[in-house]
C-alpha cells in the first residue's frame, strides 16, 4: 500500500466518521464542530488530488467563513442549550433499510468502473505554475470567464439582498 493510499484511507475515514457524528451528536454545537473536522478531511483529499490551491481555499471559505456562520446561527438559536429528546425516531429501521439499499445500488453500479485502478494523472501544466494556469483559465474568453462573472453577479445579489434585509427602516 503506497503512502498516498494510506493517507487517502485515513482522510476518507475522518470525513465519513465526522459526517456520521454531525448527524448523530446530541448537542447542536458538537455537530457544527464535527462538520469542521469533516471539512478539514475534504481539504486533505484536495491535496491528494494535487489541488493544493483548492485545499487552502476550502479551509478559508468553508471553515473560516461558512462554518463560523453555522456556529453563529446555532449559538443564536434559543433552545440550543436544552437537552433534546431521544436521538432515534420510531421508524429508524426504515431509514437504515433505505440507506443500505442505496449503498447496495451504488456498489453494483460502480463495480465495473475503471477509475478504481487508474493511477492519478498529472495535470497537463506544461511546466507552468498550476495557480497561474487557473487564473488564466478563469479570465480568458476561451476559458471560464462567463461562469466566473455569473458567479460574481450571484454573490453580489446575495450581498445586496442581505444588506436590504438587515437595513433599519427609518
Amino acid at each position: 500500500m503506497t503512502p498516498v493510499q494510506l493517507i487517502f484511507i485515513l482522510a476518507a475515514a475522518v470525513v465519513l466518521g465526522a459526517a456520521v457524528m454531525v448527524v448523530s451528536s446530541e448537542k447542536m454545537l458538537h455537530s457544527a464542530f464535527w462538520l469542521i473536522v469533516s471539512l478539514f478531511g475534504v481539504a486533505v483529499l484536495f491535496v491528494l488530488l494535487q489541488a493544493g490551491f483548492f485545499a487552502v481555499i476550502q479551509v478559508v471559505v468553508y471553515i473560516g467563513a461558512i462554518a463560523i456562520l453555522v456556529i453563529f446561527a446555532v449559538m443564536l438559536t434559543r433552545r440550543v442549550m436544552d437537552e433534546s429528546g431521544p436521538q432515534l425516531t420510531r421508524w429508524w429501521w426504515l431509514g437504515a433499510l433505505a440507506a443500505l439499499g442505496v449503498y447496495g445500488i451504488l456498489v453494483v453500479v460502480l463495480r465495473s468502473w475503471a477509475g478504481f485502478t487508474t493511477p492519478i494523472a498529472e495535470i497537463p501544466a506544461g511546466g507552468q505554475d498550476i495557480v497561474r494556469l487557473l487564473g488564466i483559465a478563469l479570465i480568458s474568453p476561451n476559458g471560464y470567464v462567463l461562469p466566473f462573472e455569473v458567479a460574481s453577479i450571484l454573490l453580489l445579489a446575495a450581498l445586496v439582498g442581505s444588506i436590504f434585509i438587515a437595513w433599519e427602516k427609518r
Binding site: K27, V56, I63, G64, I68, I71, M75, I130
Partner: protein, 406 residues
C-alpha cells in the same frame, strides 16, 4: 559557490543527519520523515521559547511609555521575570467550570497556539532557510488565521459562562470583519510580484513594497493588529468591560497558552509585515550568507514590533461600533480602490523600468490617500455641523424657557 554551513545551513545539517541516521541502519523514507519532524519541533519550540523574550521586551517598553521602569527586580534589568511567570503558570491548578464542555474547552488553547505557530512554517527567514515553499503561501496564512478564530469561539462557548460567550461573539464578529480588508491588502504584494508564494514575494522586492504601495501596507498593518486583538482593538479582552472576555474560565497553563498565542501572534504579524512589505531578508550580502539575511529580517521585524507596542501603550480602546465603522466604511473601500488603482497602473506600465513603475505606483497611492482624506474631512465637517446645530437647538430651547418663566 560551494555549499558550506554558512551558505546553505539547512541543507548541510539535513545531509549530515541523513548520513548519520542511514548509517545507523534506518530506511531512507523513515529518515526523511524523522528529519522533517525534527525541523518542525525545532521551529515550534524555538518560537515558543522566544515568546519569553518578547513578553519581557513588551513589558519594559510599555512601562517606559507609561513613565515607569517595568520589571527590574528578577535578574539584571528583570530579564528573568518571564521565566518566573512561566514557572508560576505551570504550577497553577486547572479549574474546569461546572457544565463546561470538556473537549472544546481543552482543545481551544491548543488550537489558538497552533493557529499562530502554523504561520511560521511558510515565512522565509533567509534565502534558503524556510519551513516549506508553498506556492499558495499567502492564502495559507489566511486559512490558518481562520483556525485561531475557531479557537476563540470554542473557548467562549464551552466555558458555560455568559460573559465568555458575549466576549467570544464580539471578538469573532471583529475578527471576521477585519479579515476582509486584510485579504484585499494582501492581494497587493501578490499583484506586484505575480505569485502567491512568500519566497517569490521576497525575491521580487528590489524596491520595498512599503515605498511602492504604502496604503495597502497601512491597511494590512491596521487589520493585522485588529486580528491579533491588540490595543487599540483589544475589545476581545477588555478587562474593564467584560472581565477578560472568552478566557475568563481558563487558569494555569491553558490561560498561559492564550497569553503566549497573543504575544506570538503580535510578533508573527510583524514578521509578516516585514516579509511582505519591507523586503524580508533582503539586504546587502544576504543572498550568499543566510545568517546576514536573518539579521536584517530580525532588525526589520523588531522595528515593526516596536511600532505595534507603541500603538498599544498610547491609544485608548475603540468601541465596537467605532471598530465596525472603521472597517466597513473606511478600510474596505480604501482597500478596494487601492487594489483597482494599483492593478491598472501596474498593467499600464508593464513594460517600463522598475523605477518608473515604482514612482508612478507611489504617486497613484498618494493620490488615493489625498482623495480619501478629503472624503473623511468633508464627512467629519458635516457631522460636526450636524452636532453643533443639534446643540444650538438645545441651547435655544433652554433660553426661551427661561424667558417665558420670567
Amino acid at each position: 559557490m560551494e555549499t558550506t554551513i554558512w551558505t546553505d545551513p539547512i541543507r548541510v545539517i539535513a545531509d549530515w543527519l541523513t548520513q548519520l541516521l542511514v548509517g545507523w541502519g534506518l530506511p531512507a523514507g523513515l529518515v526523511f520523515f524523522i528529519i522533517n519532524l525534527l525541523g518542525v519541533a525545532v521551529l515550534a519550540t524555538g518560537a515558543m521559547l522566544f515568546v519569553l523574550f518578547l513578553i519581557w521586551y513588551e513589558r519594559k517598553i510599555v512601562g517606559r511609555i507609561q513613565d515607569r521602569l517595568g520589571p527590574n527586580r528578577i535578574g539584571p534589568f528583570g530579564i528573568f521575570q518571564s521565566i518566573a511567570d512561566m514557572l508560576k503558570i505551570f504550577t497553577k491548578e486547572y479549574i474546569t467550570p461546572l457544565g463546561a464542555d470538556k473537549v472544546p474547552y481543552n482543545l481551544a488553547p491548543i488550537m489558538a497556539v497552533g493557529g499562530v505557530l502554523l504561520i511560521w512554517a511558510v515565512i522565509p527567514f533567509a534565502d534558503r532557510v524556510y519551513g516549506v515553499d508553498l506556492n499558495v503561501g499567502v492564502l495559507y496564512i489566511i486559512a490558518v488565521g481562520a483556525i485561531g478564530t475557531l479557537a476563540i469561539i470554542m473557548a467562549g462557548w464551552s466555558s458555560n459562562n455568559k460573559y465568555a460567550l458575549l466576549g467570544a461573539f464580539r471578538s469573532v464578529a471583529l475578527l471576521i470583519s477585519y479579515e476582509v480588508p486584510m485579504v484585499m491588502a494582501l492581494l497587493v504584494p501578490v499583484i506586484l510580484s505575480g505569485s502567491l508564494g512568500m519566497n517569490d514575494i521576497v525575491r521580487s522586492q528590489a524596491i520595498w513594497y512599503l515605498f511602492v504601495a504604502p496604503i495597502p501596507a497601512l491597511i494590512f498593518f491596521l487589520t493585522s493588529m485588529a486580528e491579533v486583538g491588540r490595543s487599540p482593538f483589544d475589545l476581545i479582552e477588555a478587562e474593564s468591560e467584560i472581565v477578560s472576555g472568552f478566557n475568563i474560565e481558563y487558569s494555569g497553563l491553558k490561560f498561559g497558552m492564550f497569553y503566549v498565542a497573543e504575544f506570538l501572534h503580535a510578533f508573527t504579524i510583524s514578521l509578516l509585515f516585514a516579509t511582505l512589505f519591507m523586503g524580508g531578508w533582503r539586504g546587502p550580502g544576504a543572498e550568499q550568507f543566510p545568517l546576514l539575511g536573518l539579521i536584517y529580517f530580525v532588525i526589520k521585524t523588531f522595528f515593526v514590533y516596536f511600532v505595534v507596542i507603541l500603538f498599544r501603550g498610547s491609544l485608548p480602546r475603540f468601541r465596537t461600533d467605532q471598530m465596525m465603522d472603521l472597517n466597513w466604511k473606511i478600510l474596505t473601500p480604501l482597500a478596494l480602490v487601492s487594489i483597482m488603482v494599483i492593478a491598472v497602473v501596474e498593467k499600464a506600465l508593464a513594460g517600463s523600468s522598475l523605477v518608473v513603475r515604482s514612482a508612478s505606483l507611489l504617486l497613484a497611492n498618494l493620490v488615493v490617500a489625498l482623495v480619501a482624506l478629503q472624503f473623511l474631512r468633508s464627512s467629519g465637517k458635516s457631522q460636526r455641523e450636524l452636532a453643533e446645530s443639534a446643540g444650538a437647538q438645545v441651547v435655544d430651547t433652554v433660553s426661551t424657557r427661561e424667558h417665558t418663566s420670567i
